[in-house]
Symmetry: C2
Amino acid sequence: MTIPDPIAPSRRVLMGPGPSDVDDAVLSAMARPTLGHLDPDFLVIMDEVRAMLRSVFRTENELTLPMSGTGSAGMETCVVNLVEPGNRVLVGVNGVFGTRMAEVARRAGAEVTEVQGEWGRAFTAEDFRKVAGGEKYDLVCVVHAETSTGVLQDIPPIREVADELGALLLVDCVTSLAGHAVEIDAWGVDAAYSGTQKCLSCPPGLSPVTFSARAADRIRNRTHKVQSWYLDLSLIQGYWGEERSYHHTAPINMLYGIHEALRLALVEGLDARFERHARNAKLLRDGLTELGLTVRVPESERLNPLTTVAIPEGVDDGKVRRFLLDEYGLEIGGGLGPMKGNTWRIGLMGAGSTRRNVALCLDGLRAALA
Amino acid sequence: MTIPDPIAPSRRVLMGPGPSDVDDAVLSAMARPTLGHLDPDFLVIMDEVRAMLRSVFRTENELTLPMSGTGSAGMETCVVNLVEPGNRVLVGVNGVFGTRMAEVARRAGAEVTEVQGEWGRAFTAEDFRKVAGGEKYDLVCVVHAETSTGVLQDIPPIREVADELGALLLVDCVTSLAGHAVEIDAWGVDAAYSGTQKCLSCPPGLSPVTFSARAADRIRNRTHKVQSWYLDLSLIQGYWGEERSYHHTAPINMLYGIHEALRLALVEGLDARFERHARNAKLLRDGLTELGLTVRVPESERLNPLTTVAIPEGVDDGKVRRFLLDEYGLEIGGGLGPMKGNTWRIGLMGAGSTRRNVALCLDGLRAALA
């Protein structure tokens, strides 16, 4: 075969649904020399990553670590470790990621009940209560930040319902962590997963997860083995815990990346970071409205890291996105599912949530739609 | 919390069972700007990675791609996609990784029969034939390069037995790919997985897999859904194939790394690379013997990328390895399972298979044992 040339990726401005722009300090960290996965210096890095993850999740949960896969691996980790065959699982489905959680739970042998919600709207507690009908459930699943629709879900009301049903609460925080307040302990969330390539602004490849003491208990007291060996937390804890026993070889350089990304988030300060995401999201929405575009999702349910906007009648989705990429080196996202072809998803996540990016995107859209 | 300082990992010489030393060109590639996972420039990189993987696996298999997890995720991918509940699976168990394959297959609902072999020895076809007893099997699994024992398994005889049993053949090539000849097509292997952190000398985080046309057929004709959504090839092919449909966000910068690592392997030339691994392994073994140490595994069954050596009576395993790390910045590996405490595993993999590393390791051991 002809051997390809070395890669030479352009420096894009990433304003899609993720990956987001990565700070140079994170990229440099990833290029540091690889250590062994049991090297004493690497064990220190692991411990620091766990401590910083707890800060970012705002939790004291002992069982908090980054899984060796992307966000969907984190989703599957939570589901397959918490669910045993025949368990009753109630899942809020108002976008791609709720749909996915329900599917993953069915594949884990759960008896799944879906709470169907409108795409582009959040759930009320009543939506869950009505479908549950007062029956007992083992697990309630909901998406905090629906990356497919741009909706932010209020979690405490869903926690209340889960309590009524005697269920643990699992929350998808992929697009909210480090961009919106995620309050694992204050909200009483039992399990949550996220990704690195959204508001943490680290390349994709790891999925932070966290489990409350009672979720960890449920895992400890399982009667069936976890169906996935690779994602089995009872084994993985042996490596991330005191024993340091070998399970699989950790993705060392990705962990360098998340270490630096978490550091940058904490140096900025989480509250300041949330405020920045809110400020720039508002600038973007105001600008889109000025351009005559319609921002989707009612104002009180909008996600700051990701804004969804209706594509005007007669405008060619692919052509506009290609124009932005070619002329501005700027990526925005298309829609998924029922929003395909009629919705753009514009991300302002982590290092990419800047006034400069807002200006660039608005100028690009103005030119594309002229 | 106190925010940790940025990481500052030392430049080790990695002569354990992996990760191995990573070429600076690979580390630099990983630090290039992140592209979107549907960016047209990234799609080119994906196609090049697949083409190069086919070259390195020596296969024309269409279904060849890197999975978004470490080597064990590749193992699980092969098993959960090929096995349906109740399938009969025959697994050669003569080390940690055969043991693991059997466990993963049981968790996938297979009826597993183990061919027990001595740790530190390869299998004969007769070993498999005897245990199989002429019954039909769906899948035969064997490890080409046992990372726990340093044994190289001859594959064609096992292929013959698999044919007799009407079974597909799955082979673990984690520690052999790009260090020993792996001949997927010539040997008639139906499925294989590897890792990036061994003879490809890329940091851990991806697992190359390949499937023959009939293995791909079996996946297409499954009657049960694959239990893992994250590892479901029928979905993942939608992203790596023509449709480019979203499944999960690919680990972009890890794929930059493997692109460069594959390039370097092909620029060197596979045969020259195998020859280099053989040459340096021989130098190491000769040197170890001169030091009065006993190299494990009969000569004809030895793995070139990984040499196992008996720890002399009365020598403290941990103390020696700590001395090498502190005084030489050199990592070698300890033993696993029944070899824990009595065996060292010394890797000469990929970029780390050099005459300089052999000399360094021998000098270090000489000093440690003096």
